[in-house]
């Protein structure tokens, strides 16, 4: 067969472009799931200067009763988790993860590494509208959704 190499290369280029293009456009971006542009899992320490996406409820919530709720158990590809939230008024004062199960140890490590960063983000913005951590997109999305369900239970907006 003549020019077999060229047919293969042409196919490879088309296939690569197709998947890369689909990934760029069609795939659900983190933002579509309530997350902003992701931050990196590799970046050490707490996230720096998160955007203050704080609603009017944040200020008025400084006083009020302390209430606590646990969010729904969220399945994500490598495991499942649920998040518990403590609020005073409309202010989130504490976030914890009472339940975390993963398929294998690598995901466990990753989750344990990422959860403190997610917590810091939530405490900074006082809502579930966090950027998330890139490299742990599924964990971030599950975390955000679980928090949102807990906040819904507490009627915190």
């Amino acid at each position: 067969m003549k020019r077999a190499g060229w047919y293969i290369i042409a196919g490879a280029a088309a296939g690569f472009a197709g998947v890369a293009g689909f990934h760029g456009s069609g795939a659900p971006a983190p933002a579509a799931l309530g997350l902003g542009s992701p931050r990196s899992a590799g970046a050490s320490g707490a996230p720096s200067a998160p955007a203050p996406a704080v609603g009017p409820s944040a200020q008025q919530g400084a006083t009020g009763a302390v209430r606590k709720a646990t969010g729904t158990l969220e399945q994500y590809g490598y495991g499942e988790l649920s998040v518990a939230v403590t609020v005073r008024g409309n202010q989130i004062t504490e976030v914890s993860v009472p339940l975390l199960r993963t398929a294998e140890p690598y995901s466990q490590q990753l989750a344990l590494q990422v959860i403190p960063m997610l917590k810091a983000e939530v405490l900074a913005v006082h809502s579930a509208r966090i950027h998330g951590v890139s490299g742990a997109t599924y964990t971030s999305v599950a975390y955000a959704q679980s928090i949102q369900s807990a906040l819904d239970k507490l009627h915190v907006r």
């Binding site: 067969m1 088309a14 690569f16 472009a17 992701p38």
Partner: protein, 462 residues
């Protein structure tokens, strides 16, 4: 015996009363090209999957680079393994264009890649996860094997692949019997099946991506289906339909016999001259192996004929076949047919038992096509089927040259070949015979300026 009509074909063909043999469909190169583009597209897609799934942050994290290389090598390695299976799945449309020896050449050329890439995958992933966990390498191996779903079984699969890779190294393979090696290397199917689960359970491109999971599963299930259909179902169905039985074993020359078989519905069997079948003679000693032998004449329903030279255990046993032995077949295969001819006329060259493919191909060439035929043998008695070939050549107003003697006495080179065939530039060259002979003629043709696409060859390995 009814097959005498093949031995003296002139009379029947003169009356244009050929039995209605169904002709093999014309090969369509566009299908093979589409196949190449699709194969390339798949390679591009798996590479893109591995890359788009990765972010800068993951790469910079501890062990990130190794983990990324691990998923890339794993995906590409598994994909190349899929291609290797497809190459030998006997899809008829592709076989007709590239020929089985062409497909096997690709299969062999590709073989080292999936195994080395998958070994690299295992090493990279272990190293990457160990770095991420800040654990020792051996500790990480234990964790991977015991606590990750489906990794243990995939490791068993990788072990089988490595074992097959090792016995396929030339130095080791030479010491094994061809049949033994071939049977052992079929365990590759098992190895691939064992590795399948961990890809879906753990692969970053698959977990949480139902679309890629579906595409990947369909690709593998489809390939398995093609293998089952064309390597197993179709041959079984054909064998049951035609019910071939050995009718006669007839000596043709020193160590050469023709086996004449009879069967039903042979007029429905689509075949082109020059093609071959895998024959499985259903005797207690031979049923478990199928060997490729060329048909030495087009079928003359209800008869077909193959001609075999005793060079190994199997071909020697063929001479002792009893009439009444049932025979299963797989085929026909091969692109050594009139369909691939590019130029107006043909030069057919055969050495030794290679004359069998030449004989049936010649029968397929039209009247007045004036083929030139060169037969080479070291002794006159080794020129089997020469009477039949001479008659077929005469009927087509062609020329027959017999080159008899040692390689030095009867040599074909840049001077002698153009002298024998002055109109070489108008002719395709078909060459069939032992590997060394075929290679020498192919190289000679290249030196004489015959374009590669006008040179067709079928080598048989001893």
């Amino acid at each position: 015996m009814g097959f005498d009509s093949v031995v003296a074909p002139g009379a029947r063909q003169g009356s244009k009363q050929r039995p209605a043999v169904r002709r093999s469909p014309r090969p369509r190169p566009v299908l093979a090209r589409a196949g190449l583009v699709a194969a390339g597209a798949g390679l591009g897609m798996v590479t893109a999957l591995a890359i788009t799934d990765e972010t800068g942050g993951e790469l910079r994290a501890p062990g990130g680079a190794a983990t990324f290389l691990g998923s890339l090598t794993g995906l590409v390695g598994m994909y190349l393994a899929l291609l290797m299976v497809l190459l030998v799945s006997r899809i008829p449309a592709i076989e007709r264009v590239l020929g089985q020896d062409g497909l096997l050449r690709w299969h062999r050329r590709l073989a080292p890649w999936p195994i080395s890439l998958l070994v690299a995958h295992a090493l990279f992933i272990t190293a990457g996860y160990a770095q991420a966990a800040r654990a020792g390498l051996w500790h990480q191996v234990a964790v991977l094997l015991t606590r990750y779903p489906d990794v243990l079984i995939a490791t068993v699969g990788l072990g089988i692949m490595c074992a097959i890779g090792i016995i396929s190294l030339r130095a080791i393979r030479r010491r094994l019997r061809r049949e033994t090696w071939w049977l052992v290397h079929l365990y590759m199917y098992l190895a691939l099946a064992l590795s399948f689960a961990h890809v879906l359970a753990l692969g970053p491109s698959f977990v949480g991506h139902p679309l890629t999971q579906i595409v990947w599963s369909v690709a593998w299930a489809g390939t398995a289906g093609l293998v089952l259909c064309y390597r197993f179902g179709l041959p079984v169905a054909r064998s049951l339909r035609h019910r071939l039985v050995v009718t006669e074993v007839r000596p043709e020359g020193p160590g050469v016999v023709s086996v004449i078989l009879s069967g039903r519905h042979l007029d429905k069997l689509a075949i082109a001259g020059g093609q071959f079948f895998f024959w499985r003679f259903l005797t207690p000693a031979m049923w478990w192996q199928a060997h490729p032998y060329t048909m030495s004449a087009l079928p003359q329903p209800p008869y077909v004929r193959l001609t075999v030279k005793a060079v190994g255990d199997h071909s020697a046993a063929v001479a002792k076949l009893r009439p009444g032995t049932r025979v299963a077949v797989e085929g026909p295969y091969g692109a050594f047919t009139k369909h691939v001819q590019q130029r107006p006329q043909a030069l057919l060259v055969a050495a030794g038992i290679g004359v069998t493919a030449l004989r049936s191909l010649l029968e397929d060439l039209p009247r007045n096509s004036a083929p030139v035929v060169l037969l080479r043998a070291s002794r006159p008695e080794d020129l089997v089927l020469r009477k039949e070939v001479a008659e077929l050549v005469r009927y087509r107003r062609g020329r027959l040259h017999e080159l008899i003697g040692t390689r030095e006495q009867a040599t074909l080179d840049e001077r002698s070949l153009p002298r024998l065939v002055p109109d070489l530039h108008r002719r395709d060259i078909y060459v069939c015979g032992p590997e060394g002979f075929v290679t020498s003629i192919v190289e000679l043709a290249a030196r004489l300026g015959v374009p590669a696409e006008a040179v067709h060859h079928e080598a048989y390995a001893l």
